[in-house]
Symmetry: C2
């Protein structure tokens, strides 16, 4: 029935949704809500974590509440062969929350946060003040109509 190539099924989907809605509930409570045996929930959770679908249950920290309410995205143009050094540099900056390499000649996309618009200047200076970064263009995030979410995707994957 199940192989390692299988995607998730409807029960997995409901389980993920349930845990997303109310993370504090335990395995037993899940089994009650989903009308299945406790062992089943435990087995599903183990399998989801083994397969990597669920990475963990770490605390979701809000940078804004930490004092960093400003988010910005910077596109960096990197000179040839400097990729490794630039990555090391960027990963050493706490305000760099995420870094992707993207299509385009030596381009990178960086997500950064700052304490204020004024502070953003300091962060940008620190980010781009490094040999190997040829050019940078920054866009400040004004609003976040769709915060990061995965549930709709989970339900689509579970519904097949």
């Amino acid at each position: 029935m199940h192989s390692l190539n299988d995607s998730i099924d409807a029960l997995d989907g409901k389980l993920i949704r349930l845990l997303s809605d109310e993370p504090r509930i335990g395995v037993l409570e899940c089994s009650r809500r989903l009308q299945v045996a406790r062992g089943t929930v435990q087995a599903r959770l183990d399998r989801l974590q083994t397969k990597g679908v669920i990475g963990g249950f770490g605390p979701q920290v809000d940078p804004a509440a930490l004092g960093y309410p400003v988010t910005a995205f910077a596109t960096l143009e990197i000179s040839q062969g400097q990729g490794v050094d630039v990555r090391a540099h960027l990963s050493s900056v706490p305000e760099v929350l995420e870094l992707h390499t993207i299509t385009g000649q030596g381009d990178m996309l960086v997500r950064i946060v700052a304490r204020s618009n004024a502070d953003l200047q300091r962060v940008i200076d620190r980010v781009v003040g490094f040999d190997g970064i040829v050019r940078a263009s920054t866009a400040i995030a004004l609003e976040n109509p769709v915060p990061y979410r995965v549930l709709p995707l989970v339900e689509q994957a579970a519904g097949e």
Copy 2:
């Protein structure tokens, strides 16, 4: 000592780091590791959640493990006054994981995932096939040298 304007202190920082590293441990185990009383850990956790620093402990789902290994970022140019409709449209697409409005005339930044490069075409068509979206430019994420992280920021905020 503490007011609502206070940022987090060193103990809060250690607590967040500990829970990030080993999310399965409970309050009691935290108190043992941090060498403080259980009540203290409970009080700190309550405060962090009340202040919004910790949003929750939901499962961290990996889209790649769900069958969506391709990530892309699209910049959309929106015609005047169409913002609301475009947001509604984008939030109805499961593959849209995140949406920000950014500086620049009517621009939006969208994070999308797809099952394959070929499938990405389908997703993009669905995303941009909507009145009000004037132009779209897409960048495929090739690598992710720095996955989303907050811990360095937490430690900086806690270290003050």
